[in-house]
Amino acid sequence: MSSFAQSLIPPTGPASGVKRNKILPAGSLAPQFTLFVTPNQALSLREFLGRPVILAVYPADWSPVCGDQMALYNEVLPEFAKHRAALVGISVDSVWCHGAFAASRNLHFPLASDFEPKGHVARLYRAYREGDGTCERALFVIDSNGNISWSYLSPVAVNPGADGILEALDKLTGKTMG
């Protein structure tokens, strides 16, 4: 079943009573956005046209350090680079918060601040948690033409790791570079 078809099926099981986002599936055009990554520097998705982009949407800065998703991806940057893929983290935290977080984790990739209007970009990707006021923990791999080629919604409390991203990048570039 295609992930698009899967996205049309209502959720069942224990979580069915909870409103759960259906994030933008593979095959969708990735919504364009421009967000601040530092107090005076903005980043636009279109800057990456021509190469794959990984959007790592996450609930909040400052998870416990050894299990932190952004700290993990920071270590995997050389693997992403083998696919020429750019990584962008997105949460509703402010640029000031992102700056302190990135410095503490020694992060070498941009964290975009979906701060004003709050969660606007996450909503475009259907990855905003109404009520919680935070983003989902969701991953999007966008191909060099700006189409979503893979997306994954993780339970908020579970760090999804990087294996799914690398598999998606393998498919995109047609080979395993692990």
């Binding site: 050894c66 932190d68 270590e75 020694n106």
Partner: protein, 173 residues
């Protein structure tokens, strides 16, 4: 469900026999304080389960947040090249709070190996590829932080206190 993509093999650091009922694989980082706690738990598991458990340790240094993790892992690999991996493994975790280059040399001398030789190994990074191989295999298997455990090849997503791990091991097929 995440599965271990790199089967236990001859290059691994292994405690216990291949005929053990359960194999516990840990991806760990010598500078990670949570791995330091997990180290004690694994020791207790081994006491409980004895020869029924095989334990494998693989390197997963978080180099960008733990300044000494890579050096510590390379020191353990250096000891391994001399057949002394587990001694160094124990010493590194026992001295985790004082990890500095000087300490690595002292521990190396303590187990009767040459600090000069370690110095040359660290300078030439000869064990770096070995550690990268562990790291990349871990990433592909869904390691999402340290420590990450696999029980009989399946990632353990629960907490890793003794009771939880014992229960998860008992339920593993």
């Amino acid at each position: 469900m995440n599965r271990l993509l790199v089967p236990v093999n001859a290059h691994d650091h292994i405690q216990g026999g291949a005929d053990a009922e359960w194999t516990l694989v840990e991806y760990g980082d010598y500078e990670c304080p949570v791995c330091g706690e997990a180290y004690q738990i694994v020791k207790q598991l081994q006491e409980h389960l004895r020869e029924r458990l095989r334990f494998v340790f693989r390197n997963f240094p978080l180099r960008q947040i733990h300044r000494m993790a890579e050096f510590a892992a390379e020191t353990a690999e250096f000891a391994s090249a001399h057949g002394r991996f587990w001694e160094m493994h124990d010493l590194l975790f026992a001295n985790q709070e004082d990890l500095e280059r000087e300490l690595l040399f002292r521990l190396t001398t303590k187990i009767g190996l040459s600090a000069d030789q370690l110095q040359r190994s660290l300078a030439s990074e000869i064990y770096r590829d070995r550690i990268d191989l562990d790291f990349r295999g871990g990433i592909r298997s869904g390691v999402n932080g340290t420590p990450t455990f696999f029980i009989n090849g399946v990632r353990h997503d629960g907490s890793f206190d003794l009771d939880t791990l014992l229960r998860a091991i008992a339920e593993a097929v």
